[in-house]
């Protein structure tokens, strides 16, 4: 096919166009999150002390942490969804959540006697955390990957990993509403491991699925 012919064909096709990126992100991620939220309330639900714990800074920090993670992953995935976009500042925000949990852990060290540290870190049910967070991140991750496929990330792996960070953050937010362990030590170890699993998966999935 000659290039001029292709140009003519393309120009004739100008009327139909993909939906704006913002709508793709909102719809696909929204749908994914709803699936996970439904899954959460169907199988786990809020912990009995949910409302009484809202005054506990440790409990509230869990959500600060997980929502920071979700927001920074989303921000980065959004920036990486277009060809040639410079992620710039967005790529630095992913360090925000780990820094927060580190600072909170230092505060926790100051506030609790060392004899309690190990027990708080191991928590009540670490395996549950390692299974629940990746499981609940699947639907939002799928939604974000669909949105990213609608876009055109220059680097599929990085975009996939960013999407996974956002999805893990949302899953952690849901899981934290049920999880009985509130110590930053627990977050720093188990939530971070669970997130790393999801991010690794997103990296691999992004490399395969986000080619265009």
């Amino acid at each position: 096919m000659k290039t001029e012919d292709l140009i003519a064909a393309i120009a004739a096709d100008n009327q139909s166009r993909g939906a704006p990126m913002s709508r793709a992100f909102a719809v696909d991620l929204g749908a994914g999150f709803l699936v996970s939220a439904a899954l959460f309330f169907a199988t786990m639900g809020l912990r009995p002390t949910f409302f009484t714990s809202l005054g506990d800074p440790r409990f509230v920090f869990k959500f600060v942490f997980s929502l920071t993670m979700a927001a920074s992953g989303f921000f980065l995935a959004w920036r990486l969804s277009r060809p040639g976009a410079d992620p710039g500042f967005a790529s630095k925000t992913v360090f925000l959540a780990p820094i927060l949990v580190l600072l909170a852990s230092l505060a926790e060290m100051a506030a609790t006697p060392p004899s309690l540290w190990a027990a708080r870190m191991i928590g009540h049910n670490a395996v549950h955390c390692l299974l629940a967070i990746p499981a609940m991140s699947l639907a939002p991750l799928a939604g974000l990957l669909v949105a990213l496929r609608h876009g055109a990330p220059s680097n599929g792996r990085r975009a996939g990993a960013a999407a996974a960070l956002a999805a893990a953050g949302l899953a952690a937010t849901l899981y934290a509403m049920n999880c009985p362990d509130d110590s930053p030590f627990f977050l720093a170890v188990w939530y971070m491991i669970a997130t790393s699993i999801v991010v690794g998966f997103g990296w691999l999935a992004g490399g395969r699925l986000l080619r265009w």
């Binding site: 290039t3 120009a11 004739a12 139909s16 969804s81 060809p83 040639g84 976009a85 265009w212």
Partner: protein, 177 residues
Amino acid sequence: MRAALAGDSLAYKRLLTALTPFLRRICLKACARSGMPTGDVEDAVQETLLALHLKRHTWDETQALTPWLAAIARNKMIDAARRRGRQAETDIADFEDVLAAPGDADAFERELDRRDALRLLDQLSAKQREAIEAVSIRGESPRDAARTLGVSEGALRVSVHRGLKSLADLYRKATER
């Protein structure tokens, strides 16, 4: 590009025509760097144009157009290089005498291209194939083509769009193997 996105097909055509030399230059440079035969450049340019078309909703109107275009071209060049990595290249210098039949070889190659294209077209649904044949190959205006095929103009445009998209997919699959 803004006018094109607003629906001005003529502006779009002008823009694509004006962009082609720029894209060709990017692709040529990338080819030279990766040691690809310059014969593949035009393919890469066309793939870039098609990708630009199918992904034009990803251009942020507040950003410069050039980095966006360059990134698309780069992506397509990486694809091309990856494909080439899987193909065994044979140096044709040894067969020069056998192959040197300029007029014939050219016609032969065109015929091959045509067959490849037709084979890809055959894999589309009847509706998409007819639409593409009418608009892209015979060069009819969407309105005329829609009338001949007995569908609404909008429906025809959708068929052309989906057809182009499936062709891009098919082409990628065919060449990746």
